[in-house]
């Protein structure tokens, strides 16, 4: 799994933020590239550039090995992301890819929980396998 962060700040400001603040939260500093999108041209294409504020909103895109976007989430600035949920989604997309779509992950799935095997036999029978409680942790 590779990570790229991106904002409208310059790469020099990224360095200062890493060196003076983030390295105090993450030992050794930020391990992934911190990209600069001054002008928001990349953000515009991804639909996350807020022209009025001149900044990018909190958009997070899961991109598979073929370069296809499998999922995204966009939040307004004051609310932070849930990293565990992002990891869970990546694990689910990886499972689906590994099984070439033979398995699908129902609501509330996380590693270790049952998957569904879509097919003619399952039509109208999901209720026998998947219970509402399983949507929750």
């Amino acid at each position: 799994m590779e990570i790229l962060s991106i904002s409208i700040d310059s790469m020099f400001v990224h360095k200062m933020w890493n060196d003076h603040e983030l390295s105090k939260m993450v030992s050794g500093g930020i391990p992934f590239p911190m990209l600069s999108d001054a002008g928001g041209r990349v953000g515009k294409v991804y639909g996350v550039y807020d022209e009025d504020a001149g900044v990018e909103t909190r958009g997070r895109f899961i991109i598979d090995p073929d370069g296809v976007i499998q999922g995204y989430e966009v939040l307004t600035p004051p609310v932070g992301r849930n990293v565990s949920e992002t990891i869970r989604q990546i694990q689910a997309f990886q499972l689906v890819r590994e099984t070439k779509g033979a398995e699908a992950t129902p609501s509330g799935w996380k590693p270790g929980k049952m998957t569904l095997k879509p097919g003619a036999d399952l039509v109208g029978k999901v209720w026998e396998q998947w219970k509402t409680e399983m949507a929750f942790d």
Partner: protein, 84 residues
């Protein structure tokens, strides 16, 4: 990954690569057909781009398509030194 950049006074910039470039850099109105093609959607290709950045003590130029073959998480955020 990426090529190392020299830090100078000219600020390096990146941007969309390929088909999206014209539309993203110029403010011309798009016809409906073009707009549809450009929309970011699940199940569609992530638009390629280049961007300068900072990575473990070095300034680098990154292209998204260098990451083909790997799962990649692309995270936008409002700004350095903000609170959340």
């Amino acid at each position: 990954m990426g090529e190392e950049l020299k830090a100078g006074c000219a600020r390096p910039t990146g941007g969309p690569v390929g088909q999206d470039r014209d539309a993203a850099t110029e403010n011309k109105p798009l016809d409906d057909k073009k707009e549809e093609r450009k929309m970011v959607m699940v199940g569609r290709k992530a638009p390629d781009f280049t961007a300068p950045g900072y990575h473990k003590g070095k300034f680098v130029e990154i292209r998204l398509s260098e990451y083909l073959g790997k799962w990649t998480l692309l995270c936008f955020y409002p700004g350095d030194f903000t609170f959340v």
